[in-house]
Symmetry: C2
Subunit: 452 residues, 2 copies
Amino acid sequence: MDKVTPRTLSGFMELLPAPQQQMEKLLGTLRRVYALYGFTPLDTPAIESAEVLLAKGGGETEKQVYRFTKGDSDLALRFDLTVPLAKYVAANYGSLAFPFRRYQIGKVWRGERAQRGRFREFYQADIDVIGDGRLDIMNDAEAPAVIAHAFAELGLEDFTIRINNRKALGGYFELIGIKDRTTEALRTVDKLEKIGAGKVRELLCGDCGMTPEQADAVLEFVTLEGTDEEKLAFLEERADKNELLAEGARELRAVIEALPSLGVAKEHFAVDLTIARGLDYYTGTVYETRVNSHPEIGSICSGGRYDNLAGYYTDKQLPGVGLSIGVTRLFYVLSEQGMLNGSVVTAPCDAIVLPMTEDTAFAAHAATVLRAGGVRTQLYTEAKKFKQKLSYASRLGIPYAVIIGEDELAAGEVSLKDMNAGAQARYTPEDAALEIRSALRRLGEEKLIKVQ
Amino acid sequence: MDKVTPRTLSGFMELLPAPQQQMEKLLGTLRRVYALYGFTPLDTPAIESAEVLLAKGGGETEKQVYRFTKGDSDLALRFDLTVPLAKYVAANYGSLAFPFRRYQIGKVWRGERAQRGRFREFYQADIDVIGDGRLDIMNDAEAPAVIAHAFAELGLEDFTIRINNRKALGGYFELIGIKDRTTEALRTVDKLEKIGAGKVRELLCGDCGMTPEQADAVLEFVTLEGTDEEKLAFLEERADKNELLAEGARELRAVIEALPSLGVAKEHFAVDLTIARGLDYYTGTVYETRVNSHPEIGSICSGGRYDNLAGYYTDKQLPGVGLSIGVTRLFYVLSEQGMLNGSVVTAPCDAIVLPMTEDTAFAAHAATVLRAGGVRTQLYTEAKKFKQKLSYASRLGIPYAVIIGEDELAAGEVSLKDMNAGAQARYTPEDAALEIRSALRRLGEEKLIKVQ
């Protein structure tokens, strides 16, 4: 029979068992923390009608969509979790209570050009709060608090959520008379680090057609140094001259002031007046998150406030605020940077039961007792030499071997071998379960991420 | 702006928040129990190269596959989790330790004719153990033990895993001289309940061309009543006349005798000599699982032993044994049959914090304390009347409201309202967390499934 080469498509992450266990820990932590803040899990289909999925139309994304027909149906794979949310809320408006808080962790697909660290299939982990008509600004503070909590649980301490407000940004640009050139101005300013302030100023005056005063005002804004309070003061000093700027400054202050009471440490957030976010539907608060020691990674969690979630499906005004973690890319980067903690158990089980005689009934009983005690247990009954059995356990990094020979069988006990320390002692199966559990509790406190 | 109707494709399950919480509980329980038995989680891509996915070729399945091109690539969505497992094991053979035990819970896609209770996108929850060259029969006992444990955790008590062995079946058919007509014989016998033994006998002699003695021997086999021991004895009495039958009988006895020591109650398994399973790659043990009070549902968990997992990818002999739960269909049926327990909390949170004054800082602090205490908490700061806030909480079925008015604020306390009992009492936020946790522990013992 001719063989087909078993291969996985490029741009599609498929992990070996040990890193997959780490990925599960990442996903599990996000699920748990998202739920802790009262977000309800949603699960929308991977496939949607192309008409529904592409209702908003246009843009780079549309070219990347996996679109195909089946029978008469024009179908597409979801390329984010926001459009399915919009569809869901519009379709189920009458059955939902608002504010509607949902999280969704699931795969999305984009046929991007394949390159290292870029994925065509990747997990997004989103939280959004959707209001009916209006939505309190406190939600804009709570969303980053959820993310900060999740990162802390994962062991990532070295991050800053940068927060801005599109109204403050837009109001300032209105004030200095360049409202119509906001996009170009921001695109030019993005080159600041690369080409320096002098060159940016030239481009602002040249390509963007600003007066020297306007260019200076833009540069003053985006290079503003100082504490959060000083940045807020800069906005507030100009608030009486522009209503939009005033509103943005009020919202930004409300968010910044609420974060500490929501449990977010001061070092984990900062006002950053330069953040705009590409997507044109953000209208208020915007967020980006950096790993401070690795700025080259870019933003690991972004989002913001939008006025209207589902305008292409419904006349209902549905404002919302949300944040999204690109989980697959984050995992890839953490792994590449050596930031994953090697002490986290990645074995398929905590204990492996090794019967040394033909009698497997007591071994099966011992495995059952261990499982009842919450120990993830493999029963190993293959006809192999003892040494091979132990080497199997070592290779998988299984922390405990539970050995049952003639003596143990006669005594109704097991020999518990700590595979790392090498120590071995006799227990009843029940006591072995307690012993393993207490050791694992210590190991269970290890965080997934460990930055040296 | 023209609106697009927000709709979900037919045959694609998309649940409202409360049933989605039930579904999450189902999936979470399966994940936990599968892991408890030392199965490691895998996550393979939804999209594979069509050549790889359809390497085995042919059959009904191929017509149902979602297949499409993107650029030059001929792609397909996975239609089960077994082919991706075969690909994974063949591709990563050198990196895996055998026996390799994996579980995978994920969506698969089949473009079947849409009808009530049939899904085009559905979750499968699979466990498989793969050996390198050979695999001990004990694995055939452990696989159904995992499933029995999972169902017990879910609260499903009324099920039987029916077990047969293809070698016993094949050996018996060899023995009576109808080996070449096994498939037709089984297809005919499947009509037993519908058309009765007399008519089946006629078809066996007519359409299948058997002698009356052969037809009687087939009927004797498939209508055999009695205990597991009696059925095993029936096989063993004939074992010296056919080697295949003898081997099947030995394997079946080994499985049946091991199940009790693996913690499976006698009422949850039974020998059923009529089970063959359609898929032609099963070669030994085969399983089907019925809900006894609802035989019309059909099998909710099926599988078996196969000689060679990945023959179309590799020359390595990789025998395995596995079981698969069709989760989406199971959930649909449980829901339709009213078998889901209404007492399981399906609210997005356990407690909702309702500040009654403008001061939200203490409310945010209280929410943070509750979350630190493991209480899933929503902070509600929308500008609504108290009555509307409570009605929001009721509508979502949130068990506890944490009310903070002027008095509470002054005292640094909260009023904890039990939304079901109506009772209300004052606590510090820390004590409120303890109180809610202890009540939820009781509620947490509620199983997902409750058969009246």
